[in-house]
C-alpha cells in the first residue's frame, strides 16, 4: 500500500506543478491582454464562451476567471496536503476530516460561483449580439457539485472511522 501511496503522491505533485505552470501562463496571458492589446489574439474563451478580443466585457471577466481558477488551485493544494498525510500513514485524523470537508466546500463554492458568473456573461453577450444561446447544459456543474458532496460525505465517514479506530486502539 505504501508503494501505491508514494506513486499517487508523485502523480499529485506532478499535477500540482503543471497547475502552477498553467496558472502562470494564464496570468501572463491575462496581463498581456491588458498591457499589449489584442493585436495577436484572434479569439478569447472565458467560461466556455467564445468572445472577440475587442469585447468590452473581457476586462471585467478575466479577473473573475482568475478568482474561480483560484478555487481549483486551493482545492488541489488541500488534496496534495491530504495525500502527504496519508503517505505518513496518518489516515483518520482531525486534519484529514477537516481537509476533506474543506475540499468539498471549495468544489461546491466553485460550482456555484462558476455557474453564476457564466450565466451573467452569457446573458450580457446575448444582449450584445442579440443571439440567444439555446444550448444549455447542466453537465459542467453536476460533476464538480457531486464531487463536492462526495468529499463532504467522505469526511463524515472518516469521522466515524476515527472513533472506531480509537475504540480499537483501546481494545486490549
Amino acid at each position: 500500500m505504501n508503494n501505491k501511496l508514494n506513486l499517487f503522491s508523485r502523480i499529485t505533485n506532478i499535477i500540482w506543478y503543471i497547475l502552477l505552470i498553467i496558472t502562470a501562463v494564464f496570468f501572463f496571458l491575462g496581463m498581456s491582454f491588458y498591457f499589449k492589446g489584442t493585436n495577436e489574439i484572434s479569439r478569447i474563451s472565458l467560461f466556455e464562451i467564445q468572445l472577440e478580443p475587442e469585447n468590452s466585457l473581457i476586462p471585467y471577466f478575466i479577473p473573475m476567471a482568475f478568482i474561480t481558477w483560484s478555487f481549483v488551485i486551493y482545492g488541489f493544494f488541500l488534496f496534495k496536503k491530504l495525500i502527504h498525510q496519508f503517505k505518513k500513514r496518518l489516515f483518520f485524523t482531525d486534519f484529514a476530516i477537516q481537509t476533506l470537508k474543506r475540499i468539498g466546500y471549495v468544489l461546491i463554492a466553485y460550482t456555484f460561483l462558476n455557474s453564476i458568473i457564466k450565466n451573467i456573461l452569457e446573458h450580457l453577450v446575448e444582449q450584445q449580439t442579440n443571439i440567444r444561446n439555446s444550448d444549455y447544459t447542466l453537465s459542467p456543474f453536476i460533476y464538480p457539485l457531486l464531487l463536492g458532496f462526495f468529499f463532504i460525505i467522505l469526511s463524515e465517514v472518516f469521522k466515524v472511522a476515527k472513533i472506531t479506530k480509537q475504540e480499537n486502539d483501546l481494545t486490549i
Binding site: 480509537q166 475504540e167 483501546l170 481494545t171 486490549i172
Partner: protein, 72 residues
Amino acid sequence: MPIIINLDVMLAKRKMKSNELAEKIGITTANLSILKTGKAKAIRFSTLEAICKELDCQPADILEYNPSTSSG
C-alpha cells in the same frame, strides 16, 4: 465505567509485577496500564484467557460489575 478491573488485587495475591504479567501474556506495559486504570473500551477473550492462565484465576476474580460507578 461500571466494569471494574481488579488486576492490581490479583497481581498482589500472586506476587507478580505488572511488567512481568505484560511480558508473559504478550501485551505492552502501556496496554496493561490502560486495562488496570479502567481506560480500556474492550478486552479480547484471548487477552482475558491469557491473564487468567498466568494469574491462575477466574474472569470473575478480575472483572467486577458496579452500576453505581459512572461511565467514562
